[in-house]
């Protein structure tokens, strides 16, 4: 985890880079990189790169950034990890490249020199890269396939500014604070601000698996080089040639082990966030098989002690079973309340989640950790969410009703009436006919926080209308299903990974880890792993394929397979509803949220939004 920044005065009429401005943007991200900082300005003062460093690979000064090619034609500021950098380095050296450091950053420079932007297909890992090519007078903003590392940019038509955080760009003083209604609408619909939007019109996220290039004419539209649906679609073409079905578990285990091994690459110790669920337990088990001793840490809640919801006993059991030194963080209501303000300050964009990661990262930092593995992504890859069975079922049930003209509107009206009369509780039911039939729409309904017709009450009718118009949510959801991944499981897997995981889970892991200078690594979110297991996953009939993950470790506890998912759950509902702090009262202004049966996440969403958007 590092913080990167860049400025490019690309337009002929623009002013030279203001050095202080770059430093302000960079240092607004100090927590992302407390170990050092660097800056570079081009000779003509039209390009600047900045870097805040959290040293993990090549801790020496040689690994410092921004880093330059020997001829000074290429400069790079990079956040993340290239897990296969040693292999890449070997093949680059074989072809004549001479290295001066042991860092993965330098690999990017040499690889770009050899292959240009095609290099992105060779990189395995999580990365956000700002690369300056002096010869071509071009800047490239590059983001990893899944969008694990964030990269935002603001283009005012004269000057391009890029940084790892929205809030850092706002510090520049030159970036417009005009609101982006699509960001607000997207947040209330889904619980996170969907890329490429942010809450601000001028600031956008580089989409996952995409490149934005900037030259004297300005920004190109993002060029996508990776899509999850395409991997599944390609897997259908090759499924005959990858071995028999009986090999599936072996192949999947092999691929998981390979991914895990690459995620260990580090010059500092790597720990594990351990819950009682299948995902992190599988990582513990596979690490044990690899002979890799790893500290494990579990977040537990004082309030849950001695109840069935307490994950701690089982997590302890898993840790000791795999011989992992284990510790826990016991979160009390007092600490939760004390940190609420700091949580809202740490959030880069409003979010309805991430609080759990915030506290487990806090504990990890206290123990001196810099890097932790997380089991995130297991449910997206192996179909662990209820959406994998429910969304296709909804599609079958709603196929006919959705074909009846106006049925969606009528059902919405009727059910809204029943809700206001107190006869129905679940507001999402109003969208059943309208959204049920198409997998992308049904997926949205399954994940939705609010529905489009609820937005005027939260944002005002003008902002709601403009926001929905600009957001084009349906088009965006459908775009993640192109090319067609080829089946129900593949479609939901593509949707989950391209929306919920990307915009919510990964982004939360980033800000919540960053708040404590922690790098969170996600071995189950890996493009190479996906490519290897996809052909096997699409052949298995079950919608839930978590058994592949549970069965991966050699030393396997039968009980792990049966354990139902609880995850790192926070007793938020109770704590927030009983929270007396006036600062968290914003939701009380909205009539719709006053209904006693309102889910806490809706109230929290409104509160967080008011805090961050105001």
């Amino acid at each position: 985890m590092c913080g990167i920044a860049g400025i490019f005065s690309y337009h002929y009429a623009s002013s030279e880079v203001n050095r202080e401005e770059l430093r302000h943007i960079r240092d607004a991200m100090e927590r992302r990189g407390p170990d050092g900082s660097g800056e570079w300005f081009s000779k003509n003062n039209r390009v600047a790169l900045g870097h805040r460093r959290l040293a993990i690979i090549d801790l020496s000064e040689k690994g410092a950034q921004p880093m330059h090619s020997e001829d000074k034609q290429l400069s790079v500021s990079f956040n993340g990890e290239i897990y296969n950098y040693r292999q890449l380095r070997q093949s680059l050296e074989a072809r004549g490249s001479v290295f001066h450091s042991n860092s993965d950053t330098e690999v990017i420079l040499h690889l770009y020199r050899q292959k240009g932007l095609e290099m992105v297909h060779d990189l395995r890992g999580m990365f956000a890269i700002i690369l300056w090519d002096e010869q071509k007078n071009q800047m490239h903003l590059i983001r990893d396939p899944y969008g694990i590392k964030p990269l935002y940019y603001a283009d005012d038509g004269w000057t391009l500014r890029a940084a790892s955080q929205v809030k850092a760009l706002l510090v520049s003083g030159k970036v417009s604070k005009i609101k982006e209604p699509a960001g607000s609408a997207g947040f209330f619909l889904t619980g996170s601000v969907p890329e490429p939007f942010t809450l601000y019109q001028e600031i956008r996220q580089v989409p996952a698996g995409s490149i934005v290039s900037i030259d004297s004419l300005g920004c190109s539209e993002p060029k996508q080089y990776f899509s999850i649906s395409k991997i599944f679609s390609m897997a259908h073409d090759q499924k005959g040639s990858v071995g028999s079905e009986r090999d599936a578990q072996d192949k999947i285990t092999e691929s998981l082990t390979d991914s895990l091994k690459s995620h260990f690459v580090s010059d500092v110790p790597v720990g594990l966030f351990l819950s009682a669920g299948v995902d992190s337990a599988a990582i513990a088990g596979l690490s044990f098989d690899l002979g890799h001793k790893m500290n494990a840490l579990t977040l537990a809640f004082a309030e849950f002690q001695g109840t069935a919801q307490d994950e701690l006993p089982q997590a302890k059991e898993i840790a000791s079973f795999y011989g992992a030194p284990h510790s826990e963080m016991l979160l009390s209501r007092e600490e939760f309340q004390k940190d609420l303000d700091s949580i809202l300050v740490s959030m880069d964009q409003p979010s309805i989640d991430g609080i759990n990661t915030y506290f487990v990262s806090k504990a990890a930092h206290r123990q001196g950790w810099k890097v932790a593995l997380s089991g995130m992504g297991g449910d997206e890859l192996f179909g662990g969410y209820p959406s994998f069975s429910e969304v296709p079922a909804m599609g079958r049930w709603m196929y006919l009703p959705s074909r009846v003209p106006l049925a969606g509107e009528l059902f919405q009206l009727a059910s809204s009436f029943l809700i206001s009369a107190g006869l129905l509780r679940q507001p999402k039911i109003t969208g059943l006919v309208k959204y049920g039939a198409h997998p992308a729409d049904a997926y949205f309904l399954k994940r939705a926080l609010f529905l489009p017709w609820e937005l005027p009450a939260l944002l005002g009718s003008e902002a709601a209308r403009e926001g929905l118009r600009r957001l084009q949510l349906k088009t965006r959801l459908r775009a993640s299903l192109k090319p067609d991944p080829g089946g129900d499981f593949e479609r939901i897997a593509s949707l989950e990974a391209s929306h919920y995981m990307r915009n919510q889970l990964l982004r939360d892991a980033d800000w919540a880890g960053m708040a404590h200078s922690m790098e969170i690594r996600v071995p189950l979110v890996d493009s190479v792993l996906l490519q290897r297991v996809a052909p096997f996953l699409i052949r298995s009939k079950e919608s839930n394929k978590k058994f592949f993950l549970a069965g991966a470790a050699k030393k396997n506890r039968a009980s792990l397979k049966k354990r139902s998912k609880t995850g790192f759950s926070v007793p938020m509902a109770r704590w927030l509803s009983e929270e007396k702090a006036a600062s968290l009262d914003a939701w009380k202004d909205i009539k719709m949220l006053q209904r006693p049966e309102t889910h806490w996440s809706r109230r929290w969403a409104y509160t967080a939004y008011q805090k961050l958007a105001a």
Partner: protein, 353 residues
């Protein structure tokens, strides 16, 4: 050679900033593009047009204009449509759609600041390229249009090479009785609608200026329906004799007028760009302008001229007094808007379409 159909309000045979900007653009492209200009209005054209530029007969009536536009598009097998006014976007879009060719819409300023009708918005959202005159106009446009921001670029204005530093024009000094006077100058329309240009604020600042520079004179060039109000204001402030309304100034005399002034001032609260700032700076006189809107671009964030809060009279007084003390030398910063840079940029954008 690629062919462009240019739908504009005015170009050749037209007066004012927009006509000038259109001509600048066409002349940046005409070496490699053939341009067919269709204006809504035009005076008889005196000179020969630059090569590869043809201007059709002006058509005021909207229906006939549309018919003519389609005619030219068909006749010339146009490669793309340039639309020089937002309100013509629906027609331009219709042509680009039926001919399946790209659409380029250029935005000057105020016209693009407010959300237009649904038809205009729908049309402009199909543009392959939108160019805005300033960052401010681009921002305003993007707040109501759903175009992807990467397709909305900036094409500022440029200024004529006729604007050069030099000594005061004796004939103008004599004509307006400016002998021995220190001249503050504003050039711009006096439209009641465009009150924001800030003539009134300069008049309010005058009494304080006169205390320190008794021979100061405020010369206002330009005509319009706000003149009455400004005259009354000057009377109220007791500076009627120090405010001189010289009316409309011909393009020919403009360079000499700038040279005859000591400070150019236009504390505008919202400006699409403000080409007059560039002309004044190129003429070697100190410039004072507002810090909001497009002025920020024209003043190059303070490098071309002093920026003040438009409605802050004491800041204005201070800036004018400072300006009167500054030497009259050409401000090299204005070079950033030079014709050569403008032309190269415009050309590259057209080529990329």
């Amino acid at each position: 050679m690629k062919k462009i159909l240019a739908l504009v309000a005015e170009a050749y045979g037209g007066g004012g900033g927009i006509a000038q900007t259109n001509r600048d653009l066409f002349e940046a492209l005409h070496q490699k593009f053939e341009i067919f200009v269709l204006p809504r209005k035009s005076n008889p054209i005196q000179s020969v047009l630059p090569k590869n530029i043809q201007q059709e007969q002006a058509v005021m009536n909207r229906l006939w204009y549309a018919k003519k536009a389609f005619q030219v598009a068909r006749r010339e097998k146009i490669d793309f449509v340039f639309c020089g006014h937002l309100l013509m976007a629906p027609l331009a879009r219709m042509i680009s759609k039926t001919k399946n060719i790209p659409l380029w819409v250029h935005l000057y300023g105020i016209d693009a600041w407010e959300k237009p009708s649904g038809m205009v918005r729908g049309a402009v959202e199909h543009a392959e390229l939108v160019t805005a005159i300033s960052r401010f106009t681009r921002r305003k446009f993007l707040s109501w249009a759903g175009n992807s921001p990467e397709k909305v670029k900036i094409l500022p204005v440029t200024y004529g090479e006729v604007f050069q530093p030099g000594s005061k024009s004796e004939s103008l000094v004599e004509r307006y009785g400016l002998t021995g006077k220190r001249v503050l100058l504003t050039v711009g329309r006096l439209a009641a609608q465009e009150k924001y240009k800030g003539h009134d604020r300069v008049i309010r600042a005058l009494p304080e200026i006169l205390k320190q520079v008794p021979d100061a004179m405020y010369v206002i060039a330009g005509e319009g329906d706000d003149k009455k109000r400004l005259e009354t204001l000057a009377k109220d402030q007791g500076v009627s004799d120090q405010v001189l309304f010289i009316g409309y100034i011909s393009e020919k005399e403009l360079p000499a007028l700038y040279r005859t002034a000591d400070v150019f001032v236009m504390p505008s609260a919202k400006e699409g760009f403000g080409i007059v700032f560039l002309e004044a700076a190129a003429s070697g006189i100190p410039v004072v302008g507002g810090q909001e809107g497009g002025s920020l671009d024209a003043l190059a964030e303070g490098k071309i001229g002093r920026m003040i809060e438009a409605d802050n009279i004491s800041q204005l007084e201070e800036a004018l007094l400072q300006g009167l003390r500054l030497p009259r030398v050409k401000n090299e910063a204005v070079e950033r808007f030079s014709r050569a840079r403008y032309a190269a940029h415009a050309f590259k954008m057209a080529e990329n379409l």
